[in-house]
Subunit: 210 residues, 4 copies
DNA sequence: GACTAAGCGAGACGGTACGTCGCGTCTTAAA
DNA sequence: TTTAAGACGCGACGTACCGTCTCGCTTAGTC
């Protein structure tokens, strides 16, 4: 009987890995945006340009692909329930700040962001692969925070998500201030202040009772 | 009496204007990042490529220059004191949202952000010419807000600035959500909640008295 | 049986020919030196500039290459032994005069000569590909001339070569006199006078006996 | 009474000299043709580009002008009558060989020859200023040679001129052989052989009688 | 001895071509 | 069939000089 799921050509997997590794190396070394070129990736990886173009439309898709692999561990496991909303929010936002402070992820995102903003296809991939998983994780944290009475019942995930991540990216891209833990703390505290239940509401009473 | 300010070569001013106009036109038309080329600017403006390179190091400096002119009116006049902190914050953030929703400013910023993030020189210019003026305007609004008792006395300009602008840029660049007035309102309300004086403090009492 | 000489990419040969043809056309049309530009060759030939630069270091190598092809038939076949030294010398020098009177060869040589004189690499190629073959042909003619007793036994090829070609190039380049058959005849007659055996020598006696 | 020949502005003479000197310096230094640029001449001489263009149509006119000054002493004084035709011819041709072996004259001529050959205007100047004076000098030598019986009465100046100078330029430009005194000697001896009166003619008898 | 206009330096301008880089496509030969 | 190797057409890059132009300043030579 024939193999129903035919073994894929092992060369495919091998060249794939070579290309992504070379890409990450070049991104980590590269002083700026343009230092990542398909030609350089081909030379570094020993994979023919043709083969690379067969699998990625352009250098930006490739870069996004290569770089998202680095991100995976950062949101693959949901932040665990530690019984403390502040801590969980910190864990969440720290993982983002940490990733963006790391080479090659940080510099690569700086270089990629214009492409993502500009090209719908890249934008779609980024949202599906990066934004959505993060939102889902944050949603879980928020749900627990509401249950604990640390957050108002009507707290909106989308809003919180933007309040938390927006400033991080703004710093990384434009404002020039450093990305650090103090930022995370300030963000979380700001958020908790803003979205804490008002005194006198059911939620706040529930909270005080503890 | 002698001419104290010697007439500069009028061609300088003329070519300058032509180049910046052509740049803005191309940015407004351009489907994506790369559609702005020095060659195209030269062709469109009737100014020689060499002349362009004489004044701008590369296309990004040129684009930033061209585009900042569009921005000027948006922060040239400080938001007036209308006696209502919420309204003033809305005015402030709406001017940013408005600018970023406009062609060529919005698309141009999408294209420029990677370059700004990557090149220290561009970054410096952007901070000095755009970030700082905005911060100064916001500082004035905040000062009045504190005086009115709408904001806590220890409200930090930098923090508020990042809370307000971060989400706006995050949307424009990555999250894919639309830039609109609802966003402005949500941001301002979130901020006011988070930074309103706590009940029972001096500031809150002062506020209630009114 | 397998193809022992692997098929080269046919585009190579095709683009090569296109470029050389375009070069010759432009040289033939060109009013002056500078009218041959790589850009024009690229445009005319439909071959990309990069491809041209891949194969020729600069326009002068290209021009020399293109132009030497025209020259080949002029010295490819040795002047035949017709039993008459004067006629053979005339045939020899006429082929040179003829080539230099022809477009694009003549104008091209006028334009090239400074480059050849200046760049060792071009100079080497010119000597190997043009000067040497001609000298070899002249050597054969001279050998026969000596055998016939028309030229002194110690007649030096190098000297004769310079006496014959020098004035031709001098006219073409500097003196402004026309290149024509009268020149050829005068050169050959001068040479024969100068290099004929002196009366009373063995050679002259041999000559008279016939 | 009015000054009929008004004193010319002395600045004209001064800038003229500066430009020509700078040109000669650059020609002497320059590795190749293109290293002489009007911009470099302007920079070196401290004279404005405008002023240079006011006086010379292009760099080749300038170069020819600059370089011909070096040549002047070489043909300013006619070769004196020393009573020996061979010596006088040697003196004549040595002065040419000497000039062409000298920087900047030699390299400059190598670079200029294509321009002279190509541009009628330059050609005219070269012929009038260089070729003609030399021909006149040679004519005097030849006349004395004929009078002495060393040359046939029908010796043609033009022919001799080309026989003598052609090989010199051919070497300098194309054949790659060195320019030296041996060449001069060989040329003169070849010429004297070729143009000596035939035995038995009136001229030869006159010659023998001495 | 002041005045005017010619000649000048400085340097920006529009332009042509340069020679290079990287793109994304295409062709061949080997695995 | 898929790959590595690498040539190709292409578009833009950023540079070098070209030859032209505008602009005050300097400096003669004239009134």
């Amino acid at each position: 009987m024939k193999n129903t799921t035919p073994t894929p050509d092992p060369r495919i997997e091998r060249s794939n890995r070579s290309v992504l590794n070379a890409t990450r190396e070049l991104l980590a070394e590269g002083r700026d945006v343009g230092s990542l070129t398909i030609e350089a990736v081909a030379a570094r990886s020993g994979v023919a340009k043709t083969t690379i173009y067969r699998r990625w439309r352009d250098k930006w898709e490739l870069a996004l692909d290569a770089v998202m692999i680095d991100m995976l561990p950062h949101y693959y496991a949901d932040p665990p329930d530690v019984g403390d909303t502040r801590k969980e929010l910190l864990t969440f936002i720290d993982s983002v700040v940490g990733a963006l402070s790391m080479a090659p992820y940080g510099p690569a995102m700086q270089a990629l962001v214009s492409e993502i903003a500009t090209h719908p296809e890249l934008s779609r991939v980024y949202r599906e692969q990066v934004v959505e998983p993060r939102r889902a994780q944050l949603a879980a944290v928020i749900a627990r925070g509401i249950a604990r009475g640390d957050l108002r019942a009507d707290t909106d995930v989308q809003t919180l998500h933007e309040f938390l991540l927006g400033p991080v990216f703004y710093r990384m891209l434009l404002s020039g201030s450093p990305l650090d833990r103090k930022l995370s703390a300030r963000l979380v505290d700001g958020i908790l202040q803003g979205f804490a239940p008002r005194p006198g509401t059911a939620a706040s009473r529930r909270r005080l009772r503890r």
